[in-house]
């Protein structure tokens, strides 16, 4: 009779796994019996053929639906029992629960904060229609250098030759005076307060991105065809709300941009932010570029393929993949490179997804990795703290576990019970962490923004969305789950491995915990100290780094110096007027009280960049065949005293030389060392391709020595870091600023003003002078020290961030150490009593515990030195002038941690000595 088809039974058995345990046996019997009976019946009816067998198999598959339907009945299962029990246990000791929850909450919170920021930049899709089809183009030079911008002609070719895109849009940012307000000269932001932030965009911008308009319309095609003919603009919704108080009749009104009246034709719908996190205040047609961008390649950008002025975004046609688009654009790029050969142009193009603000590429990874490691380590410390707390508690619950084991509970059952408890703790911690993260970001984000040296108008346009979404919830949940398992697994496994007879007799608390248990605890403490110190070493390195940068001399004066430039906006067609204005202003500035001297230079110091040009030196063949790019600046004769540059040898420019625009120059000492290591550079000659276009004269061999104008060296100046504070200028040449009327190079030059005392008073006076001279012209002023502190900002931010993480780690680790030592002391109360009764003094008892703690600390410190080496390698990118193994950072941080850790041991040890021997001996 027993020849039933095995497959059915196997299937039932397999599905039975998901049936709640309580019901499983009955459930299985019912299905097996039915199947067997039916098979038997079919056999009796002579119907046991393939078709019916298959039907039977199909019927047995229905067991799965049946099993699913039984799932809600799990409520009375073991799992629920565990949960109920866990809740009771956690409520019974609210203090323990609260501390464990907060500890995990801090760890999970820090991770969630990081993930929230990561989410906002890299994961949240842009609030555009179908964000996945948005792409961003990047150009690459022949050497593989990334270039963000493309020339207008290249844009047109990419736009018109491709078949992959529904549209390609060209965009660039600019800042210009916006509205009629006068600037606030006293502000320390890098741009005047009356500046607005806009984008010049191609005519298809709003249609390709799918922007809807709250009012009015986007740009019409004819508005983007002929240069400088259609002064129209579209406002962003935020700007319309903030600057124009949501004026419903705004369409048709005019607003001044760079002194020119623009007609407002539209307001974008709320939520449209473009493709970058800094939403512009307004958009103007690409063809209006020369009206709003001051004097930079005016007119020439329309035709010159070397002038990269636009970034390109696109929308893929439906069904076209990134790879297909990439393949097509690569072909076009190749065609362009062949048609217009030029070493300075980008030769290939990359297509990346523009669905989020940032893509996780090789540029971003080195920034994310150290942060990820750091917050991960903080969480690890928090988990270890909770592990130790659970271990300590497990020691107190040995008897409970022993009774359960003795009554027949399986080991797995105990482990599951304890894991449920720790998971529940982690769940609470995760909830706390999520709240901490949400509140923390809400609190910190405005503070961080306030630190940026940017005008409030730009800051309030930032469109980063930090609100929690499902990704953040999932992340918090996963991290909590992991934390729960990491924190709870070791204590759970250990508790289930009890020596029953000992535990039942409650020997645990009398004669110290099991050796293995204390060994695990010690290992955890060592690990905690090592991890914490690793983080602190990172923080220490970054702090030392910042310190170094702050004390680093740029080689020229930064205090009480400000720069001033006249923006030609509104008079762009009259460069003479601009130069005339600047000359008049310079004369007036000299007469202002508090102004010591006024110089002139093409580039202002600490701007982050300088001019570079190829140089050749007669007789130095290597240089002749491959000209070196050298940094240079055009300066006036009184520039050197004004910015505090010392002339260490030779002399400065004379007034006559300046008048005659003589071919003489000064060079920095490092330049002299580099090109004339063993010679006197004074009187030597140098060829500089200042106005030469190196691209038009390709250099192929030694005989094709480019014929650069020759200059004679008349003096040496001290070395500087005048581009960026973190990099010395390896070469620097100072050329006379041409005073000849109205030539292109003198345009856009800066006046450098050295003042007595703070520059602000003089800046306000200078603003007044400028307005009286010509109310139509704008001046831009900036204190050199503000530029310098703006350069420090990222390093400051890194140091503060690392310091905060390090402090958090230290706090958690010392709480952990303190907790463990307190526990050890309480476990050994009786032993201490005996020792003291036998005559041990208080300081001997303290020494006992300090020695025990000290040993752990020492091992932890030793391990962390290796960890520190690893983390400092990660930080190497950000470390400027100090070795990544900076001994001072390592030693001072280690000493600091040791002191904190020893005090965490000292406090409980001291409490131990206060024990009355009699009570201690009676202690159970």
């Amino acid at each position: 009779m027993r020849k039933t088809n095995r497959i059915h039974l196997w299937l039932i058995r397999l599905i039975g796994v998901i049936v709640p345990q309580r019901l499983r046996a009955d459930w299985r019997q019912e299905w097996e019996a039915e199947l067997q009976w039916r098979e038997q019946q079919l056999a009796e009816w002579d119907k046991l053929d393939a078709k019916h067998k298959l039907e039977l198999l199909w019927h047995s598959a229905g067991a799965f639906v049946d099993a699913l339907w039984l799932q809600p009945k799990r409520w009375e299962d073991d799992m629920i029992q565990d949960l109920r029990y866990a809740v009771r246990m956690l409520l019974k000791r609210p203090g323990f629960t609260l501390i464990a929850m907060l500890t995990l909450g801090l760890g999970i919170g820090v991770n969630t904060v990081l993930f929230t920021v990561y989410d906002a930049f890299l994961l949240k899709p842009l609030p555009l229609q179908d964000p996945d089809s948005i792409v961003h183009l990047t150009g690459y030079s022949r050497e593989g250098q990334r270039t963000r911008l493309f020339s207008y002609q290249d844009y047109l070719d990419y736009r018109d030759r491709n078949t992959s895109f529904a549209g390609l849009v060209a965009v660039n940012k600019f800042a210009a005076p916006f509205g009629d307000d006068a600037p606030d000269a006293g502000s320390s932001s890098l741009l005047p307060s009356n500046f607005g932030f806009g984008r010049i965009v191609s005519g298809n911008y709003f249609t390709v991105l799918g922007a809807e308009m709250a009012l009015g319309r986007g740009f019409a095609p004819e508005e983007n065809q002929t240069p400088n003919t259609h002064p129209v603009l579209v406002l962003s919704h935020i700007c319309w709300e903030r600057k124009f108080q949501s004026d419903p009749h705004i369409i048709g009104k005019t607003v001044r941009v760079a002194g020119m009246p623009f007609t407002i034709i539209g307001v974008t719908a709320q939520g449209f932010i473009g493709t970058e996190p800094d939403t512009p205040q307004f958009w103007v047609p690409l063809m209006m570029r020369d009206q709003v961008v001051d004097g930079w390649h005016t007119g020439k950008w329309l035709n010159d393929r070397k002038l990269d002025v636009l970034s390109i975004w696109g929308r893929l046609k439906p069904g076209v993949t990134l790879a297909q688009a990439q393949a097509e654009l690569s072909v076009i790029a190749e065609q362009l490179a062949r048609a217009y050969p030029d070493p300075e142009r980008e030769t290939s193009v990359g297509v990346t997804s523009g669905a989020t603000f940032i893509q996780l590429d090789d540029g971003v990874k080195p920034l994310v990795a150290p942060l990820l490691v750091a917050v991960g380590l903080v969480l690890l410390i928090a988990c270890v703290n909770v592990t130790n707390m659970l271990l300590a508690r497990a020691a107190g619950r040995q008897r409970e576990m022993a009774v359960r084991l003795a009554l027949g509970a399986g080991r797995w059952r105990i482990v599951r019970q304890l894991l449920t408890e720790s998971l529940m703790l982690a769940g609470l911690g995760g909830a706390a962490g999520l709240l901490l993260a949400v509140w923390g970001i809400r609190l910190l984000y405005p503070l961080v923004l306030a630190q940026m040296p940017l005008p409030p108008a730009l800051l309030e346009q930032f469109a980063l969305d930090f609100s929690p979404d499902y990704r953040i919830f999932t992340f918090a949940l996963l991290v909590s789950l992991m934390a729960g398992v990491v924190a709870g697994l070791a204590p759970a496994l250990q508790s289930s491995r009890l020596n029953l007879s000992g535990a039942l007799k409650d020997e645990g608390s009398t004669f110290g915990a099991h050796l293995s248990q204390s060994r695990l605890r010690n290992a955890l403490v060592v690990m905690q100290i090592a991890v914490c110190l690793t983080l602190l070493i990172g923080a220490g390195l970054l702090t030392r780094n910042l310190q170094k940068l702050q004390t680093m001399s740029p080689g020229l004066a930064t205090k009480n110096v400000f720069t001033l430039s006249v923006t030609a906006q509104g008079v762009a067609q009259e460069p003479n007027r601009q130069n005339e204005f600047q000359r008049q202003l310079e004369a007036r500035l000299r007469g202002l009280p508090g102004v010591k001297s006024v110089g002139q230079a093409h580039r202002q110091p600490m701007e982050g960049r300088t001019l570079t040009a190829p140089i050749t030196i007669a007789g130095q063949e290597l240089l002749a065949s491959r000209p070196v790019q050298a940094n240079y600046n055009f300066v006036s004769s009184n520039y050197f005293p004004t910015v505090g540059l010392r002339i260490t040898r030779g002399r400065g420019f004379t007034a006559q030389e300046q008048q005659a625009n003589a071919p003489v120059l000064l060079i920095s000492e490092s330049t002299a060392r580099r090109f004339w290591p063993n010679e006197d550079p004074l009187g030597k000659r140098l060829g500089i391709g200042v106005n030469a276009q190196p691209a038009t004269t390709p250099i192929t061999g030694t005989d094709a020595l480019p014929n650069f104008p020759q200059y004679e060296i008349i003096g040496l100046t001290n070395d500087t870091r005048q581009r960026v504070i973190w990099r010395p200028d390896d070469t620097f040449l100072y050329l006379l600023i041409p005073t000849a009327q109205a030539n292109e190079t003198s345009k856009g030059s800066h006046l450098i003003v050295n003042t007595e005392g703070d520059a602000r008073a003089a800046m306000i006076a200078a603003q007044k002078e400028a307005t009286t001279l010509d109310p139509k012209l704008f001046v831009m002023m900036r204190r050199v020290e503000d530029s310098l502190s703006a350069q420090m900002l990222p390093f400051q931010a890194l140091a503060v961030l690392a310091g905060a993480l390090g402090a958090l780690a230290l706090l958690l680790a010392s709480i952990g150490l303190y907790g463990v030592m307190s526990f050890v002391v309480s476990q050994r109360t009786r032993e201490i009593g005996i020792r003291m009764a036998l005559g041990a003094g208080a300081h001997e008892v303290i020494k006992l515990f300090l020695r025990q703690g000290g040993k752990l600390i020492a091992i932890g410190v030793a391990i962390s030195l290796a960890g520190g080496a690893a983390i400092s390698t990660l930080l190497a990118v950000a470390l400027i002038d100090i070795s990544q193994f900076d001994p001072l950072a390592f030693v001072s941080v280690a000493a600091f941690l040791t002191i904190i850790a020893l005090s965490a041991c000292y406090i409980p040890a001291r409490r131990a000595t206060k024990v009355d021997p009699m009570t201690a001996l009676r202690h159970e």
Partner: protein, 108 residues
């Protein structure tokens, strides 16, 4: 739709049980409903108190060398619900289930 509302499928299954088809597979065969419908429906009917279940006598199963089967029967409450349902589903009231599952005898 209250708890006591019987869907047509549920009513059909209840009627099959009432007509003497007491096992899940028999109900399945006679109604033509898939097993994934019949079993959950049986569980729901049981939860609602319309159907009771019993294991068949162990001795009976042992004699045939197979596990005991679980059979279902309509309770008093279930009977009332079936009457109500028949009033709603007129076709159901006219439906007569054959007395046996044996295909051979049915053919006669």
């Amino acid at each position: 739709m209250g708890k006591n509302y019987l869907s047509y499928t549920m009513a059909l299954i209840l009627q099959a049980l009432d007509n003497g088809y007491r096992y899940g597979f028999d109900v399945m065969t006679i109604t033509g409903l898939p097993s994934g419908t019949v079993y959950p429906a049986l569980r729901r009917l049981e939860d609602a108190g319309y159907v009771g279940s019993k294991w068949e006598k162990q001795s009976l199963a042992l004699a045939e060398q197979r596990p005991a089967r679980k059979y279902y029967e309509v309770t008093k409450v279930g009977g009332k619900a079936l009457v109500e349902a028949r009033e709603r589903f007129r076709l159901l009231a006219q439906l007569e289930f054959p007395k046996t599952l044996d295909p051979a005898r049915e053919a006669k």
